[in-house]
Symmetry: C2
């Protein structure tokens, strides 16, 4: 399947691109508002994959071109760019495409990081509100440490939580996620259940920052 | 150490009483507004412990009597009773006592359970606001499945997250929690970080209810 990772030049985008390219047969394109930046990063990722003897490549393209070619479009952008990004690529999407939202809103005070819940209810809901007719939105990949994902030597052994209002779209994303070795995808129902998932990300940071030896944390439901 | 579990006749109170009595040398008293109910439940728990060949007993008392005798007082009551319960036992507390808040506010809609954040900021903060001078509040034991805790045959292998504004009180509670076999207690900073921890509880329920074979879930940070 063709998968575009918009914002794929950022930390979490890099991790997803590398893992999906390394572990699955999907065709991965990283998108950026700047086509040249996307291509440069894609070459870096491909070099990294080749250096490990993997017969895998990542392509790069401007966001709209990346989205046009893909069936699954991951919105690996900051939360305040999710709505804009969906609107920017809306004309490139067709019914049956699936948008994936991994972003979460956070704010920080002196105690730590906190979930900054958007007025729409969740970041995933922002994406759903902006999505064109016939394009479903699924929330996934929120609670993954970017550095651990991008380090292909690091074992995962962790869970990602998936929400969506369309069962077929959700199943598609669960299958993609479980293609990543060591990642278990758990269905957590509809988009109304997104806030508690997005709120896990600041918690992971707070746990890591208060406990020596724990960093780049993930969670396992057990 | 003497530990009182107010609301110790309820599900989570039962689990904590049994585990602490089984695995640690602390003296456990379950409290209830109804002394007779507390004594009856305490006898049940003691019978359960004895049936396993454990030389451990749980006592029962009215909440205020239980709190008066204890150094650590666990508020294992519903979130809307946390403030009232602290006020009801306030005269029985002395400086240096530690209140432990495991409760979380939840509401349910057709999609699942959601964190119902109290106006005070968190349930732990409600307890802190109601606590008498010199009595510190620590949040802990939020994300434990009551039935799994109460089943002494069930292995844990999970984490509990601990927050508190007083380091000594927090360390005391972490030590108590880690006395339970298979439970790791992680420091997550101050009470300002409570909402994301309390919000994990509805998420655990949503994960369990959407995935066959997963129930009485806990989490492990890994």
């Amino acid at each position: 399947m063709k998968i575009a990772i918009l914002g794929g030049t950022g930390d979490i985008g890099q991790g997803l691109a590398l893992r999906l390219a390394a572990d699955t047969a999907h065709e991965i394109t990283v998108g950026s508002r700047d086509a040249e930046k996307a291509e440069t990063k894609a070459e870096e990722y491909t070099t990294e994959l080749e250096s490990r003897g993997l017969d895998a490549a990542v392509a790069g393209a401007e966001n709209e071109d990346a989205a046009a070619a893909a069936r699954i479009v991951v919105l690996a952008v900051p939360p305040y760019h999710v709505g804009d990004t969906v609107e920017a690529v809306a004309d490139a999407l067709v019914a049956g495409d699936v948008l994936v939202s991994p972003a979460t809103g956070m704010k920080r005070d002196e105690e730590g990081f906190h979930y900054h819940r958007p007025g729409a209810g969740s970041v995933t809901k922002i994406a759903a509100n902006a999505a064109p007719e016939g394009v479903d939105v699924v929330g996934a990949f929120h609670n993954l440490a970017a550095a651990r994902l991008a380090n292909l030597d690091a074992e995962l052994g962790i869970d990602t939580l998936v929400i969506g209002d369309d069962e077929d779209a959700k199943t598609t994303v669960i299958d993609v996620a479980e293609g990543i070795e060591g990642l278990r995808a758990l269905d957590v129902g509809g988009i109304a259940n997104a806030p508690e998932i997005e709120g896990l990300t600041p918690l992971l940071i707070n746990v890591a920052s208060n406990n020596e030896g724990l960093h780049d944390l993930g969670i396992e439901f057990t």
